[in-house]
């Protein structure tokens, strides 16, 4: 009898265990096959402004590179695919989230004012608009020192490996990218381009290189090879820097080797703004993170949702609040001074991160969109098209 009862109990327990195992397996499998939609990825991703550079970033991740490695590789590539937008002669700002430590840091390698810049430079603003052509407007490039600092702190793959895909691109059968071609053919830009030193790179006589036609750029390929092999210092203290300074001087520029050698990126904490469930991390002045935070914080208080825009009136109302918030925000843009160079400006952006100014701004917004500019503190502003 006892034996039979034990056998029944064992069978019941076995059944329960099997049921539990099936349930656990089903849950695990269903999680692994969560419907993410057709365009989803499951592990990692890169979004650059061209297919080829996103692909280069992805390849770096697949080689066990860190997100910083992938970003640097994608940016080096972008300087070749979209050279009208960025490149080694510019500057960069990184916002980096480390999932292990939970910390978010900023590396700001934005260009800076050279030591010998023209003291009357800002009297030339009106004449220089809208393109700002000419060597007097050149800031000390920070791009490569930004990469080097980001890689030193967060890199996983060897430095040279991040440059290799783009070097191969340039040394291979490289063709003129289509977006670059559109810029070269712009009737707005073309007169300025053909009278500049860029003509030797992008034009054949007075005609832009053909879209998708051969685009040889051996000088940049050689520069990337040198930087890959010798590091960023080849640019900031070595032969590359000297060649760059001499070329710029031929066009009247005042950049010096000391300017390059003295350039250092800034590493600092990100601005932090609570937006309900989310926390926004963004770069402090002179970058625009404080303005972005202010705008989103003001808007958060209006509690917009899909229901808000379900009707045409709701949609108009939401955009009205958005427009009004933008007007108030632009009235605050004067706060984006470089705190590193202007000590008395160090805290002027802080109110933008507080609830007090956001609440006050919401209270100023009513149903009307025709207030005078002084209502938004825009009465004495001028164009602010900074990029």
């Amino acid at each position: 009898m006892a034996c039979g009862r034990r056998a029944t109990l064992s069978l019941v327990l076995l059944g329960l265990a099997l049921t539990l195992a099936i349930v656990v397996l089903a849950v695990v499998l269903s999680r692994r096959h969560t419907p993410c939609g057709p365009n989803a990825f499951f592990r990692a991703a890169v979004a650059a402004d061209s297919k080829v550079c996103s692909g280069i970033g992805r390849a770096i991740l697949e080689q066990q590179g860190s997100p910083v490695d992938a970003t640097i590789a994608a940016l080096v590539c972008t300087g070749v695919i979209n050279p009208q937008s960025m490149g080694l002669g510019g500057g960069v700002i990184f916002t980096i989230y480390n999932a292990t430590t939970g910390k978010v840091e900023i590396i700001n390698a934005r260009e800076s004012v050279p030591a010998n810049s023209d003291p009357d430079l800002l009297t030339q603003c009106d004449r220089a608009m809208p393109l700002g052509k000419g060597s007097q407007w050149i800031g000390v490039p920070g791009e490569l020192r930004g990469y080097a600092e980001a890689h030193r702190r967060h890199g996983r793959l060897p430095w040279a490996q991040l440059f290799q895909p783009t070097i191969e691109l340039l040394r291979g059968d490289f063709h003129l990218p289509s977006i670059l071609s559109q810029f070269l053919n712009s009737s707005f830009l073309r007169p300025s381009l053909t009278t500049s030193s860029l003509r030797q790179l992008f034009f054949n006589g007075t005609e832009p290189l053909q879209p998708q036609g051969p685009f040889p750029w051996p000088a940049l390929a050689a520069t990337l090879e040198t930087v890959a092999a010798e590091g960023a210092e080849a640019f900031y203290k070595g032969r590359l820097g000297r060649m760059l300074v001499e070329d710029v001087a031929k066009e009247g520029g005042r950049l010096t080797m000391k300017d390059l050698g003295d350039f250092h990126p800034e590493v600092l904490d990100a601005l932090e703004m609570s937006l309900g469930d989310y926390t926004l991390y963004s770069p402090p002045p002179p970058a625009g993170g404080a303005i972005l935070s202010f705008i989103l914080n003001v808007l958060r208080g209006f509690n917009f949702s899909a229901d808000s825009v379900a009707s045409p009136e709701g949609s108009v109302d939401m955009y009205h609040h958005l427009v009004e918030t933008f007007k108030f925000a632009w009235g605050q843009k004067w706060r984006l001074w470089d705190p590193r160079s202007h000590r008395n400006m160090q805290n002027v952006s802080l109110p933008l991160l507080g609830e007090e100014l956001a609440r006050h701004t919401r209270q100023q917004i009513d149903g009307s969109g025709d207030h005078r500019l002084s209502h938004y503190s825009l009465e004495r502003t001028w164009d602010h098209r900074m990029g």
Binding site: A47, V248, A270, L296, Y319
Partner: protein, 205 residues
């Protein structure tokens, strides 16, 4: 300007914006290095005298550099300071929700349009429930420094009319060069979008 958003396998993320400023920068080419030079000092032209525009301050504010009030105009240096970095609209950003297990790695390009474009993409995604592609593709509006509203082509005519009825003045912008790149993580799913305005395409695995 160009923006790159990256999300790694371990959940670490990078949002990076890089620029030589206006298209082709200073239009100065270094033939021996192959490098195009920036014209970033042009952004100093937009640097405004402190206190030139003060939003009516909250009652508790005492003014001064730490508050909402003005910094005395006498402290405003009129010439560029060596080592100074010009003001910028660049906003490489990361939004994290521990509660939802979500992240949004986002930023943009397009000069003064950057902040407008990123704000609207974030609103569309987080608050209005659009998926990431729709959130970035949706036409934007921008407000110029004179308070006039500019609409990207194909922006809803109905909303434009509604805003006009509310008293907003409008103006035309010849070019909209706004471009946003973003990667969103939602639980175990990763979505990545490069703005089709610049012909971009994201990649992942």
């Amino acid at each position: 300007t160009s923006h790159v958003s990256v999300l790694g396998e371990d959940g670490s993320a990078v949002s990076a914006t890089s620029t030589i400023n206006t298209p082709f920068g200073a239009m100065v080419y270094s033939p021996r290095t192959g490098i195009l030079l920036n014209n970033e000092l042009l952004d100093l032209c937009w640097r405004r005298p402190p206190g030139s525009s003060i939003t009516p301050a909250p009652a508790t504010d005492g003014g001064g550099p730490g508050g909402c009030g003005a910094v005395p105009d006498t402290t405003y240096p009129r010439v560029p300071v060596p080592g100074e970095r010009p003001p910028s609209s660049m906003v490489p950003s990361i939004l994290i929700s521990a509660a939802r297990g979500s992240k949004l790695v986002i930023g943009g390009a397009g000069g003064e349009l950057i902040i407008s474009a990123v704000v609207q993409a974030v609103m569309n995604k987080l608050w209005l429930g659009l998926d990431l592609s729709e959130a970035i593709a949706a036409p934007i509006l921008h407000v110029g420094s004179q308070g006039r509203v500019e609409f990207e082509p194909s922006f809803s005519q109905e909303v434009q009319n509604g805003l006009r009825e509310r008293g907003h003045s409008q103006s035309q912008r010849p070019f909209f060069l706004n471009v946003v790149q973003a990667v969103a993580q939602e639980g175990t799913c990763v979505y990545a979008v490069s703005d089709s305005r610049k012909g971009g395409e994201a990649a992942g695995y």
